[in-house]
């Protein structure tokens, strides 16, 4: 299962990178979203899958799954939400001000100071 999940995470990464390399701003943002999904799955996999009960003492199980990756991922989910929100607003404002979402036209070259 872990091996399979590693491959899935790799595929999510590949799709995310492909989207982030495109020219459209929205696709880049979607790419970052996919990237965090891939990362979360990968983190969870690293702790070992289905090694025990859910990490709640009330379960009274002999073994529990690793709680540390879960704590990490919980933080990461919230943070990636914040990042996505900021990205979206930047995209929205950039489009409003500059009239394009094409990254090729959004180069900051000679004109900026």
């Amino acid at each position: 299962m872990e091996i399979l999940m590693c491959i899935v995470a790799g595929l999510l990464f590949a799709a995310a990178v492909y989207l982030m390399l495109s020219k459209s701003l929205l696709r880049i943002i979607i790419g970052t979203g996919l990237l965090s999904h891939g990362t979360h799955l990968m983190l969870l996999t690293m702790g070992g899958l289905k090694t025990g009960a859910a990490p709640v003492l009330g379960e009274h199980a002999a073994a529990y799954t690793d709680p540390i990756p879960q704590a990490l991922i919980l933080t990461a989910i919230v943070i990636s939400f914040g990042v996505t929100a900021v990205f979206l607003v930047i995209a929205y404002r950039a489009y409003q001000e500059l009239g394009t979402d094409n990254m090729e036209q959004l180069r900051g070259m000679e004109t900026d100071d």
Binding site: H37, P55, T84, D101
Partner: protein, 805 residues
Amino acid sequence: MSLLHWAILAPFIMAVFVPFLRKKAATIHTGWFVLILPVVLFGIFLQYLPVTMNNSSIIQTASWIPSLGINFTAYVDGLSLLFVLLITGIGALVVLYSIYYLSKTKESLHHFYVYLLMFMGAMLGVVLSDNVVTLYMFWEFTSISSFLLIAYWYNRDRSRYGAMKSMLITVFGGLMMLGGFLVLSIMGDTFSIRELAAQAPELNNHPLFLLAMILVLLGAFTKSAQFPFYIWLPDAMEAPTPVSAYLHSATMVKAGIYLVARFSPIFAFSGYWFWIVGAVGLFTMLWASFNAVKQTDLKGILAFSTVSQLGLIMSLLGVGAASLHFESLDDNIFTTAVIAAVFHLINHATFKGSLFMVVGIIDHETGTRDIRRLGGLMSLMPVTFTLSIIGAFSMAGLPPFNGFLSKEMFFLSMIQLMELNLFNVETWAVLFPVMAWIGSVFTFIYSMIIVFKVFTGKFQPEKLEKKPHEAPVGLLVSPSILAVLVAVFGLFPNLLSYSLIQPAAAAIVPSIIPPGEHLDVHISFWHGFSPELWMTIGVITVGILLYKFMPKWTGIYDYFPGKVTLNQFYNSGLYAAERGSNAITNAYMTGFIRSYLVYIFAFFIAALGFAIWAKDAFRYDASAAAPIGLYEVSLIFVLLAATITILLAKSRLTSIIALGAVGYTVSLFFVIFRAPDLALTQLVIETVSTALFLLCFYHLPKLSRHEEKRRFQAGNAIIAAGVGIIVTLIGISAHSSKLFASINEYYIENTYKKAGGENMVNVILVDFRGFDTLFEIAVLSVAALGIYGLIKLRLEKGGETNENE
């Protein structure tokens, strides 16, 4: 920290207070306060003289970075004391001179004295450091303060050009030298020069020996303006004359000489050292004296003359290395060269210092340094004329001044080379005295030019900006003191023999001096009609003839593009480097975010891929893996289908919904993998962010693909696939090689005991790692503030930001 350390640091400390002095006591010239310091230091260091006269030394260590073996070790022996006395002695005279040279009202004196004090401290640090790292640090400090002093009149183009040039060349050399020091410290496993010198015989056979020597010599040659690095020195003459007298003739440029002398005990046994130092020095001496004659700027002549004299001292140090190959001290004729080097070092500081000051006076009183506009000043400036005669005649090597004595010893050392049967010298030996002699002829000629083109001939008041008159007494004091020294050292050279020269020379060639013995220093005026005397007579005769008939032969300079070529090489090199780096930067800094991401991902793939391959890090071990269930497999298919939908989607709505589908599938995974908290959070967050996407849906343009070309897509696909593969490989390897047990046992055991909670994930977040969560909240609030600001922010027409709409 001992007195020695404080003495080195004193100028730096003083420099801090100079700006306040300038402000508080504006009516008094700041120089008077500064003058106290070098005088006091000179006095302090004079007390070390009895110690060094016995060829003994003093070491004081202050810890700096002991864990790396880098300590601030101050070391006083004959060689460093000689330099210290030069630095503080000439320093005091130069400060005194500058008080009258630089106007209290017109110049920004506090800058000048801050830089000058910085330089003085750095120079003391260079000559007193036993640790190569501190030596390097102070060495670069001299380069920086020299840069600041050359660019003192920074509104002049030439000043900035000269400052830049000197800095680039000397800092280049400094870096090479640092490399040499590091190689040496690897070879000898110490940063201490004394300890390195103690293991010189072993170092000699080390494979890195030659590399270390060449790197260290590059540092010395750039600093001491040896061929072909001398080109910075003539341009450094843009500095105020007190600076030229101090840095660019008496002290800083001699740091290279010091370095060669200091490292002689380590390197000098090698034949390469003899050849490189001797030949480069001698050629520099000849080349620069030849070029000095064609200069028309008085300071230009002095600059080339300084280069030439430094070459002379350098060549003597190279030739003196031959003395190490003789066992007995009594018939060791090559110690003469070492003694001559030290003696000429002192002499050069005295006569060149006074000449620079004299030229400064001429510049100050007439408004020009161009010899074509000067002439006939003898009757107007009699004292200056006398001083210039003393300085120039000493430089030309005429009796009874000190230059005559050291020049004779120089000739003697070169003639003696013909008797040497080492390093295949025989075939070339005759070239040494010949080159030395020709160089001296030109030295004679330019010395005469300095005196007679300025002070005799036709007086041309119409070409001068000011009405010339004798300089005020204050300006004449310093050069007079130096001129008196020139004469005194000339008449009574044995004042120096065992007080300064012997200890310094002994520190250069310590290995041939048995304990308790001294080098035999005997300097005398008359030693019969020896070959060197005939050489001097020849120099004078030919020199006078050539000076008389100068217009007839100066045409040969047109055949030598010489300096021009080297300078052009420097200029075009600098220009090409600037344009090249601009072109490279512009080529990869495209301003297109895709390019930057491509660099990052490509580097990610290359670095990690290489590491996996080179370290053979890939592991595959599925034995510990959980079984694969049908339910999970079907979820994976849903996940992949949603992902592919995003990739192929033509409309925004489809891709946003597909992203939501991926998110919900991930939360289902969390459920299966026993992570209920994650599943809940993911569900909430995914809902909110899908809503957010849809909110922006109205405002963003149609999901255009912007007609991406096939090649563009293919490139993206390759990089994306690469990243995916690397991530998968790392994941599988990490899973397959568990190096140690997880720390999760700690949390499982203590969740209830220490935190009184049952849900481990929650307890970790709010208790064990409470700060992480606090910062997470901080991140979210920063994001919220940013979003608020972004939405409220409106750009005005002029591009100015206005947050109040």
